[in-house]
Symmetry: C2
Subunit: 485 residues, 2 copies
């Protein structure tokens, strides 16, 4: 948590000249935390408490604490401190080189650092028992128990359908106009609006705050200290508005973990997919819905009388739901976002399974963007170099973004079955019933269950792409409807 | 430094509901830092490097690092972890009780916690070699090498003189009017002004920032990360303006420590007296001077056209230099501030040397306020309960506030001898020559020298109350002049 506070400060408040000394401070804290967690004391405590794991019900606090702590501990101990140190150093160096390479749109400059990150990940994989795909070891860091062969059939089902729908929105592009949300939206008004909207959703200043940053994120230092960070684009109001709602979804998850789990390994969201399901649920299924906008749009319009004074709620609804292929993942719409992820998953799998050389990434990247999105990548900066993840050797992280969207619709359907008047509640600005459902069925458990168990408990089955496809199909039909849809 | 980041966040940004979990996080970091510093590794390193202390010049980085680290290490090791833990706990509890007791103006409620803090300090004192006064052990935590018998002759010299001058300003109260700085000063304008003034003094946004807090402070996490915190009183512009200049003085000291000392025990200001000499120098000798106001007042007036539009620079100069006995130390003027400190020093010495019972504090406090300041204390909240220090068992901290003022004038006189055009520089808004002098003669050394050595090097002699008295006398004569002065 201390490390997280230092990182939050670094990304939101820290004077820029402090970058170097702050990196050293974070490194020190991370090293001490790693040492203390992987040392013999934790092992002895696990030994002493081991009996609780069988004596108590498996979903009890005690049994879960021992089980999850042991899993984390055993995983961490497999990696020699020396290798962890080299990985951390390569991450820091890789990040610095990536910043420059992206600025200069020069993949060749990034390649040696990328290759080193890949080589280190291969060493890392060798620390673990063999898995069906070596990539599975990397996924496991972000989503315990998830494997490439879990992901493949889901993405195989999504890819042709999303590609097909993408062609529809391209052919009927003129049916949806996002001009209303591209204008001049003064930053101070955006800040006030984000505070108001987050407050209406339930982000009370007693426990939450919103700050400005370059790349939006959420972090928390306990269930009573939730930090959202967003960025403001004065020419495009969606960036801060939907960024804030997205991060609110992450924050609500952390805020609603049972507070008895605070300061234990159980006191956090269950996994990346679960987390992203929450942010996507609030951003898209709540935030981009007719019901939500019938509640929120009057407030939004009031904040920008010049830009939105004459924009109807229908025009605003369509504008924030515009779908259009584009180069940058983080700016992608709800539909085409999936293709960005599938592309990255395919490349990562080929890299880690040895079928693709790092040097060939730009060529393959550009070919896939052409195939899936119909676009010609103008530069590596807007192509293979756009994301930070690989600079830190984070492979296995991307797929969960899309799985989160998939899961968000499964959860939404379940809530809607339990609460038939969900739409009416949202239209009335009543979010407590939805929050309570999420708390009761998902949030409060923290990391008590594995991601697969948690998903099963929440929606009554495994990850399933069909509800997500039905949702996308309905939305595309509705917005871009015509014979082709 | 990590602990300091957590504390800064707690005092400026943290949502209030997070107080409890943050206290635990800070406690964890503090405990780990204490353990790691007092463990055998540091002792072994000191042993290995001990040769450097004699082989290298005593003011070299290497010799100083070994010497200062050993001093810190030996001091910390004398206190059993168990006692340090009880002290930390009593501090936390004492603080919570003090908050309530001050709110209710109920000294009886605070007394048991205070007594416990005193008892623990006596145990703490017993961990060290006997000193002339047991109080010396406590002072040493804030000002290495300073003793009660160093302080007494200085305060004995100051007390009658400052009391005499206080009578003069009371008798001639009508000669200086602070009405011009009591009006309506919008917070947003104060914030902008503080940024402008701090920037003009040299607080560049690349390394510095200013935030809002309840009790102003300065902290830093390295020479490139300086944080000032101030508070805004819309009815009194001095609070934020002079608060910011004061904290700037602290910040400049930390910013100008030789950056090679970063992340070592040498990389910080030398002592509390040295630190306070810097904040007082900038607040009073620069900030309240004619020269500074001839540079800054046009900007200040521009920030508050309604309140200051018709206020002349002479009227503003007098207003910010108004002297008047008052109850609250942190609101006291430059002259009477000293009496607040002398009072606390006398009480602390009597408490720790066993001549005064904690239960009798309110009575003695009130009698001294009557004697020194001529005021009848209306309530314990505005009397003996006003300061936070004793709630944390911090005895030996107060005297350095006044010694800092004493030293600030010694330094000022030295700078003025070296730079005869100091006033002209300041009137022109040129602060670099003053900053460079301070860096060259004091700041860059960090903790290389003991406080006494540092003072000797900076001003060519020990602490001396005469320059300070001459300065006060001249100012009182000038502002409240008449036959009595």
């Amino acid at each position: 948590m201390a490390e997280e506070v230092l990182s939050w400060d670094q990304l939101t408040k820290m004077p820029p000249a402090a970058a170097e000394v702050r990196a050293s401070q974070i490194e020190t804290i991370a090293k001490i935390a790693h040492e203390r967690f992987s040392n013999g004391t934790v092992g002895r405590l696990l030994q002493e408490c081991g009996g609780l794991e069988t004596a108590m019900p498996s979903d009890s606090f005690e049994a879960s604490l021992v089980r999850v702590t042991r899993r984390d501990w055993e995983r961490q101990r497999r990696v020699p401190t020396e290798l962890a140190g080299r990985i951390a150093q390569a991450q820091a160096e890789g990040y610095a080189i990536w910043i420059e390479a992206r600025r200069d749109s020069d993949f060749g400059k990034f390649l040696p650092a990328l290759q080193r990150n890949i080589d280190l990940r291969m060493e890392y994989i060798d620390c673990f028992e063999p898995t069906e795909s070596p990539y599975d070891v990397l996924i496991d860091d972000f989503e315990h128990g998830l494997t490439a062969s879990d992901i493949k059939p889901i993405f195989d089902r999504l890819k042709p359908e999303v590609t097909r729908m993408t062609r529809i929105v391209v052919e009927n592009a003129s049916m949806v106009d996002d001009a209303p949300i591209r204008g001049h939206f003064p930053k101070a008004s955006q800040e006030a609006l984000c505070d108001t909207i987050a407050g209406a959703l339930g982000a009370m200043p007693e426990k939450w705050r919103i700050d400005e940053t370059a790349h939006p994120f959420q972090t928390s230092f306990g269930t009573s200290d939730i930090r959202l960070a967003t960025r403001y684009d004065e020419s495009f109001v969606s960036t801060s508005l939907y960024g804030t709602i997205h991060e609110f979804g992450h924050g609500l998850y952390e805020a609603q973990v049972d507070e008895r789990l605070n300061r234990t390994p159980l006191g956090a969201g269950c996994s990346m997919t679960l987390h992203e399901s929450q942010s996507r649920l609030w951003e898209n299924l709540v935030g981009r819905s007719r019901a939500f906008l019938s509640f929120a749009y009057p407030t939004i319009r009031l904040a920008f009388p010049e830009a939105l004074g004459t924009v109807t709620d229908d025009a605003f609804y369509k504008a924030v739901n515009k779908m259009k292929p584009s180069f940058i993942r983080v700016e992608a719409d709800e539909l085409t976002y999936g293709l960005h992820i599938i592309l990255r998953f395919e490349l990562e799998l080929d890299l880690i399974e040895g079928r693709l050389k790092a040097a060939d990434l730009p060529e393959v990247w550009n070919a896939k963007v052409k195939e899936y999105l119909g676009l010609d990548v103008p530069s590596d900066a807007r192509g293979v170099l756009q994301d930070v993840h690989w600079s830190a050797g984070h492979f296995g992280y991307f797929p969960e973004y899309l799985l989160g969207s998939v899961l968000s619709v499964q959860i939404w359907d379940k809530v809607a079955r339990d609460q038939p008047d969900l739409d009416e509640q949202i239209a009335a600005g009543e979010f407590a019933p939805l929050q309570n459902w999420l708390k009761e069925h998902i949030h409060r458990f923290g990391r008590t269950f594995t991601p697969k168990e948690m998903i099963e408990r929440a929606v009554g089955g495994p990850l399933d792409p069909e509800p997500y496809l039905r949702y996308l199909t309905a939305k595309v039909n509705h917005l871009y409807g015509g014979p082709a849809a």
